[in-house]
């Protein structure tokens, strides 16, 4: 069978960086082809060239044997390329049908379009109502809008840029069913991800990019996730290793903690009790939205709890705010990187100042010591391999994984006595995730107490000494991780619906 799309020697350079260097790949009709790579490996640039958003500096593209050089996305769509973006390109204030009409070259009248949307959503098992306003939809539903927008134009090639990063496990299943159906009908799919198990479950072939170059191809079904990860990273992956350490006194004790959620959609904490010892990593599992954010807020001091509920080194933390807690040695890294853990428009140096001021002595008598702060930011960048031109760059300019390394690194380097982190490796590629986990283990080995809140059970099994499950605002009794099996964890999670055990 001839290739549907063939890329030969594509090269694209930006000032200071070669995003794609002599990239070649071929996709057959109906093939699900994975494009793998770490953050910044050049995956997005490559698909932008196929979709006509970026023009290559050198190299050719061929579509069904004839030259393909789209000057803009319209031309690409006209040639049968559809793309579902990582950050959805949707208009909140417009209806589903209007959003879909905008992505089509010659949309039919609204009434016909609505009927076709219903028809396609039915065929592919993607329930969606054409009249709803997109702003009211969930992440999964928004993605359906994008997919249906592409499908209505009968694409020959569908590009999906990290489609599962915002989906629940059930939504991922629905998506995979749809993609398999499409592939069976002859639509080729270029699937970008760094979730290796997903790729093994779904894709027929994979091209691996590193530093803008193709470093390998493989058949994902016959290749282990570990081998693919090593190709991506370019070095042997080291599984985080806990050095043997003994646990000491209770560092943080939480007793009968109950707190209402500040958000209307939040979950109140109910009678949460646990303690963390010096040198210990406590893992708290459960699906997000079960009180995870509230628990972190209470421990960091953002959310007030009653007297006697939270004690640090035997001292009641009631009435002590976040900044004072940082001074005492209780640090935290919240889940939301942009907006909560970091101020998006401020530079890395300024962000380093924001939480590091007290413990690192960056401010004296109200005056800021910028030289020292810059050195601190620089230290985070080098110690945690944060890829950025320098500390003067704005936080929002970093990719998600790099910013996460910065946010975690900023807290770890302040040598906390207690560190609470929420989803420390969410959206982070394998190598960076391993580095973050190792840093947390090293911190515990150095005598800190670490609380890791995460949805990723494998991560918790890997690094925690004890494990507890947070479900509907209630925490199960912590149990030692060693010897816990999947069934026991399932029991602990109790009614935690949809929690997929060992999904990655």
């Amino acid at each position: 069978m001839t290739d549907l799309l063939a890329l030969r020697g594509l090269t694209k350079a930006y000032p200071g960086v070669v995003a794609n260097d002599d990239v070649s790949l071929a996709i057959a009709p109906g093939e699900i082809h994975a494009l793998l790579g770490e953050n910044g490996a050049g995956k997005s640039t490559l698909v932008k060239m196929i979709y006509g958003l970026v023009k290559p500096d050198a190299g050719q593209m061929e579509m069904q044997g004839s030259t393909f050089a789209p000057s803009d996305p319209r031309a690409a769509r006209g040639a049968g390329v559809g793309m579902v973006f990582q950050h959805f390109s949707l208009f909140d204030a417009l209806s589903v049908a209007e959003n879909i009409a905008l992505g089509m070259e010659t949309p039919p009248p609204m009434r016909t379009l609505a009927a076709r949307i219903l028809e396609v959503s039915d065929t592919y098992g993607l329930p969606l109502s054409p009249d709803r306003t997109v702003g009211d939809l969930s992440a999964g539903e928004r993605q359906r809008v994008e997919i249906i927008r592409c499908l209505l134009q009968d694409p020959k090639l569908l590009i999906m840029d990290e489609p599962t990063s915002v989906l629940t496990p059930q939504e991922v299943e629905i998506l995979f069913e749809t993609l398999r159906k499409l592939s069976a009908e002859g639509t080729a799919i270029l699937y970008i991800s760094h979730k290796l198990e997903e790729i093994r479950a779904l894709c027929d072939a994979a091209t691996i990019l590193r530093g803008g170059k193709v470093v390998g191809t493989c058949v994902p079904r016959d290749t282990s996730a570990r081998d693919m990860a090593e190709l991506m990273v370019g070095s042997t992956l080291t599984t985080p290793k806990a050095s043997s350490h003994s646990t000491g006194d209770v560092a943080l004790a939480v007793t009968g903690l109950s707190a209402a959620s500040p958000s209307a959609f939040g979950m109140a904490l109910r009678d949460v009790t646990f303690d963390v010892h010096v040198g210990e990593v406590l893992g708290i599992g459960g699906v997000a939205g079960n009180g995870q954010d509230e628990l972190l807020a209470v421990l960091s001091g953002e959310l007030a709890a009653g007297p006697g509920m939270v004690a640090f080194q035997g001292r009641d933390m009631h009435g002590i705010g976040p900044e004072a807690r940082r001074g005492l040695g209780v640090l935290s890294a919240p889940e939301e990187r942009l907006g909560h853990a970091a101020a998006p428009n401020m530079s890395l140096t300024e962000n380093a100042m924001l939480t590091g001021a007290a413990r690192e002595g960056l401010a004296r008598r109200g005056l800021l010591d910028w030289a020292k702060t810059r050195a601190f930011a620089q230290r985070i960048i080098s110690d945690f391999d944060v890829r950025t031109p320098g500390p003067e760059n704005a936080a929002r300019s970093l990719s998600g994984g790099n910013l996460q390394k910065f946010v975690i690194g900023r807290e770890v380097l302040q040598k906390p006595d207690v560190l609470v982190v929420n989803q420390p490796t969410w959206g982070v590629d394998a190598a960076a995730a391993a580095a973050i986990r190792q840093a947390l283990l090293d911190l515990a080995a150095g005598g800190a107490a670490v609380v890791v809140i995460s949805q990723d059970l494998d991560e918790l099994m890997e690094i925690s000494d004890r494990f507890a499950a947070l479900n509907e605002g209630q925490l199960s009794a912590p149990r030692p991780t060693a010897g816990l099996d999947v069934e026991q964890i399932g029991l602990m999670l109790g009614g935690a619906h949809g929690m997929e055990v060992a999904h990655v």
Binding site: T45, K48, G52, L53, V54, D72, P73, R74, R77, F85, F88, S89, L90, F91, D92, A93, L94, E98, A101, L102, G103, P107
Partner: protein, 306 residues
Amino acid sequence: MDLSAINPILLIAAMIAAATPILLAAIGELVVERAGVLNLGVEGMMITGAVCGFIITVNTGSPTIGFIAAAVGGAVLSLLFAFLTQVALANQVASGLALTLFGLGLSALMGQSYVGIKPPRTETTPLGPLADIPVIGPIVFGHDLIVYLGLAIVAATWAVLTFTRVGLVLRAVGENHDAAHALGYKVKRIRTLAILFGGACAGLGGAYISLIRVPQWTEGMTAGVGWIALALVVFASWKPWRVLLGAYLFGGITQLQLNLQGAGVAIPVEYLAMSPYVVTIIVLVILSADKSRAPGSLGRTFHASG
């Protein structure tokens, strides 16, 4: 006090005429803002239109050519704003304020030798026997062409925004310019065209003041109407028919309070003078209690990346 001095038929006709400059400027600005651009230069474009229309009308003797010149004048000035914000990526608020100051100065310079001249009269639209219908005739059919043009622009703007693809693309660009760009729409081109439309409408509105309402040329004669138009767009929740309602309400009450002042009503002049603002704000605030909101990208600078 002598309320019998007020002729209700003439009053209503005058109310409609009083509302027209605000209506024209506001509907133009509505289109600009729906495309995601905040142009605070409405006042400057109006006064430039006013002086351009006045000069050309006096020199050619034709108000029609004058109004066309006014629209062109407003559009040319708005092109400066389009260049600053869409090409040079300057801040929209600062550029808009600069445009107003520049327009006021430029118009004063251009109009120096036209102060005190009376322009040729703009004829009312010859609607034949319709204008002779009692009561309805003078109120509805006794106006000049620009009044009807203003209404037509409102209706057309509504229809285009609601029913056509061009309107959908314009709203999409205003709602989320990054997404519109990703879909391949020319954000800057669409915005520049919207800005030009806004400038032309503001120019027409300005010329309506200098050629019909007053009619003569005085420096700074638009006297804040552009700012009222800007506020009206927000209070009207970016909806064309509400802009019409707001403009008629404001223009109408302005006219009414002038008549009441003339009739010597025993209410302090200051209260009468503030009444149009108060009533318009109250009505439109009540109307805007629904969940409609500003276009998502309003006032944000678009910079294509990648």
